[in-house]
Symmetry: C2
DNA sequence: TCAAAAGTGTTTGACTTACACCCATGA
DNA sequence: TCATGGGTGTAAGTCAAACACTTTTGA
C-alpha cells in the first residue's frame, strides 16, 4: 500500500503517508429557455466543464456548492439539491466527485454568466466522463421529481403564466401535456396565487400572471433535514 | 486517528499545500427482527459506531461500502443505496462523510456479526453526531421508499409468508396496515411467486410461502444507472 | 374577420380505503 | 371445541387521463 516513488495515478500520499483522495464539488445548473434545457458550463480553464471547487474545510460541502454557483452567476440559485457522490478516474487521477443539481429561474437566464455560458444539453460535447455522468443523472432526477414535487416552479421568473409553467414542464420532460389536466393539477397544489395583472404577449388574449407561494408548499422533496434547514445564505 | 497536534482542526495541508479533507465511508445497515428495526454497529474500537472505512483510491466508494459491510457480516448485503454526503465536525476534525444505507435479510440476522452487533434503533445511545444524522436520514429514506418501491422485500428471507412481509412493513413504518389491501397491493406488483410449500407455525392454518422475483420488478428506485449496473462483486 | 393563445368541465377507468367473516390447524 | 393466525371480496371515494369548444386580443 505504501509507495514512495512518484505519485501513483490511482491515489496520492500526503505527508503522513495516508491516502488523500482528490475530492471535488461539481454543480449541474439547469435553466429553461427557448424550449431548450441548458446547463451552465465554466470556461475559465479553456475547456468547458461543470463549475467545480475543492472542499475548503470550513463550509459544508452543500454550502460550498451554493457559493460556487453564486460566484458564477452573481446571484443565489433558486433550488439546489445534492445528487450523488461518484468515483471517477479523470486525467489519470482517481477522484471523488460530490455532485449537486441546481435550477435557475428564467428571469436571469439571458444574462450571460461571468465566467461561463449556458449550453443546451442537446449540444454537449467533449465533456469529461464525470461531468457527463453528473449531467445525465441530474436530468434524470429533475425529470423524476417534476412528477411528485414542485421543483418546476423554480425554473420560472417570479411572476409567470400557466402556459409558461406548462412549457417548462414540457421542455424538461420532453413531451406534451394536456392543458386542462395540467392546470387542474397545478391549481390543486394550493401554492399558486394570482397577481391580478396580466401579460399581453401577441395578438391574442392576455394571460393571467401567477406567483409561487413556497410557504404553502407541502410537497416532500425527500432531501435530508439538514439540507433544507439552516445553511444560512 | 493520526493527528500531530498542531494541525488546524478545520483542515490539513498535504505536501502540496492543498487542503486534504478527511473522507470516510459509513454504512447504516438495517434488519428487522422481533418487531424491531435494528442497525448494525461496529465495536472494534471500544465505542459503538457505524461501520466505516477510508477511501482506498482503488475501488469506487460504493464498492468499498459494499465490501465494508461484507467484511462485517461475512456475506453480501441484500440491498444497498448511497444516501448522502454530509459534512460534520467530529472529535474536532472536519470530515466529509459519504453515507449509504443497506438492508439485510432476516435469514441472516440471528447470526451475530463478527465485529459488531445489531442494536434496535430505539435503543441507540452515545453515537457521534454524524452517525446519528446518517441513521436518522437512512430510516427516513427507507420509510419513504417502502411506499413506492419494493425495497421491503430485501428485509426478508428468500422464502417468506405474506404476513411476514406485512409485519416487516409495519415495523419499519411504525403503523398497522390493512391485511386485505396489503395483500392486494403486493400481488398487483407481479413480483411474487408461490413456492407451493407452506409453513406451519403454531396451532393455526399454515401460511403459503412466496418468493421475490427481482427480474420482474419494474419499480424505479431512482438511483443512478452506474449504481445498479456493473460494480461486479 | 382571422389567427393565435388563454381559459374552462365532464366522463371514464384505475387505484385506494374501509370494512367482516370463514378456513385450517394444534392443543 | 377453541384459540390462533391465514386467507378472501365488495362498495365508496379519490385521482388521472382523454377529450373540444369559447374567449380575448392585435393585426
Amino acid at each position: 500500500m505504501d509507495r514512495t516513488g512518484e505519485i501513483e495515478p490511482a491515489q496520492r500520499m500526503n505527508c503522513l503517508g495516508t491516502a488523500t483522495p482528490e475530492v471535488d464539488i461539481r454543480v449541474a445548473a439547469f435553466t429553461v429557455a427557448n424550449d431548450q434545457i441548458s446547463v451552465l458550463l465554466d470556461r475559465t480553464d479553456g475547456i468547458q466543464q461543470l463549475p467545480r471547487s475543492v472542499p475548503n474545510g470550513v463550509e459544508s460541502i452543500d454550502q460550498q456548492a451554493r457559493n460556487l454557483l453564486r460566484s458564477h452567476l452573481g446571484y443565489p440559485e433558486r433550488y439546489m439539491e445534492q445528487l450523488y457522490t461518484l468515483t471517477v478516474v479523470e486525467m489519470g487521477v482517481w477522484r471523488i466527485v460530490v455532485s449537486s443539481v441546481a435550477l435557475i429561474g428564467s428571469e436571469d437566464t439571458p444574462t450571460p454568466p461571468a465566467r461561463g455560458r449556458w449550453l443546451p444539453v442537446s449540444e454537449l460535447d467533449g465533456l469529461s466522463m464525470g461531468d457527463e455522468m453528473v449531467i445525465e443523472y441530474a436530468l434524470f432526477r429533475v425529470r423524476s421529481k417534476l412528477d411528485y414535487t414542485t421543483i418546476g416552479f423554480h425554473l420560472l421568473s417570479e411572476e409567470f403564466t400557466l402556459s409558461e409553467l406548462q412549457a417548462a414542464y414540457e421542455t424538461v420532460l420532453g413531451r406534451k401535456l394536456d392543458k386542462r389536466n395540467f392546470r387542474r393539477r397545478m391549481s390543486a397544489l394550493g401554492i399558486l396565487t394570482v397577481t391580478g395583472s396580466t401579460r399581453r404577449d401577441g395578438s391574442h388574449r392576455p394571460a393571467r400572471l401567477y406567483r409561487y407561494q413556497p410557504e404553502q408548499d407541502s410537497s416532500d422533496y425527500l432531501t435530508p433535514p439538514w439540507a433544507t434547514a439552516q445553511e444560512g445564505s
